[in-house]
Symmetry: C2
Subunit: 226 residues, 2 copies
């Protein structure tokens, strides 16, 4: 099944911890591409209608184990992958994904799943054409998130890992471990690293540059013409 | 995670198509073991409270793809495995499972998933100590099921596979393919084959014989004493 004949489309994904600025950047990229007339589809982690509900219920009741947590997210991803991502790639779209399989590789492993097992579960997914990783020190992403949120959610803070009874301390440790996982993937997975601490405009310039290098000439020119 | 220190417990599972008689047999086995004072836990496929609902919803709306279908069942299994099966094996129970990972291996592959992928997804599960496979010709299991049911459900009949517009014909073809998958596993997975066409009592005698050979001496003797 699902053998990857991607045809014309391109898959561009962003990864990084919460507060790394990746969502801001991919939304800016989306606008820019649309403005240039490129057919774009945007998709984000944990958003399939079918699976969202049960994940949210399981979270509320703290019923999930690392394996069920991982498999539910994989189900959500598979639903979006088979219904949206793959067909649209085949139809020639530029598909933009806010988080991709590497989010699972990082989070699930921190939660205790075997790295090989998680990679096998997501074995059906194609590699992206361009994977941006937004690198920021944990203290900075932590400040960005905590400032905007009066309360951290149980799983968001990694409270299921028993790292600390204080949600903020737990979150800080949890995010630190996720950063470690991301960093260990940078080379192996061929991430394009963006410095998430510099100006939003500066980052976006870098992102667009990389995208232009990759897009087929025709689109490239149209994009440049704007 | 989940490395398999099974300790004292024993895992006995039954497999076979619907109408093969496996559920009748494992229930009889359960009663016999309980009567003999053996600590028994019974679990069946697709029964985790958390996941049941979403599978049933997805089925109603015919929203599932082979991959999401497979992953949802894996989630259900993982929930039961981590919360019940593994802890009870560790506590020394005899765990009886009506369908185990081989059901997924058979069904998901017939639905189009890669055999290797499905096996990896279930890679966290221990091998059973005893795996009974109830072998019956498709015509017999078909008659048993169809007699008791005025209508076949969409997924039950394998209608998602577009084998036939007639649910009964689709079901017959679907079950035939599942039997092929089971048969291909008999040797490799070390199934104990039970002839599902003979008397219920005759089958049960065979089943108990195999279970007695496997259970530790002490229990064995208590069971025999009855």
């Amino acid at each position: 099944m699902m053998k990857s004949t991607k045809a014309e489309g391109k898959l561009i994904i962003v990864e990084g911890v919460d507060g790394s600025g990746k969502s801001t950047q991919i939304r800016l990229l989306e606008k820019w591409l649309r403005y240039a007339g490129v057919p774009v589809f945007f998709t984000e982690w944990n958003s399939s209608e079918q699976v969202k509900e049960i994940i949210s219920k399981g979270k509320k009741r703290n019923l999930l184990t690392p394996t069920t947590f991982s498999l539910l997210h994989a189900t959500d991803f598979a639903a979006r992958y088979e219904r949206n991502i793959l067909p649209l790639l085949r139809a020639g779209y530029v598909v933009l994904a806010d988080r991709y399989i590497y989010t699972a590789f990082a989070r699930d492993v921190v939660r205790g799943c075997s790295p090989e097992w998680v990679r096998h579960v997501y074995g059906f997914a194609v590699k992206p054409d361009l994977a941006f990783y937004f690198r920021v020190p944990v203290e900075i992403s932590f400040d960005r998130i905590v400032k905007n949120r009066p309360k951290l959610k149980y799983y968001e803070a990694g409270m299921d890992l028993n790292l600390s009874n204080d949600p903020y301390e737990s979150y800080r440790i949890f995010q630190g471990r996720i950063v470690e996982q991301y960093e260990s993937m940078v080379e192996k997975e061929g991430f394009t690293v963006i410095d998430g601490t510099v100006d939003i405009e500066e980052q976006q310039k870098h992102v667009r540059q990389k995208v232009m290098e990759m897009l087929p000439r025709q689109r490239n020119q149209r994009a440049v013409a704007k």
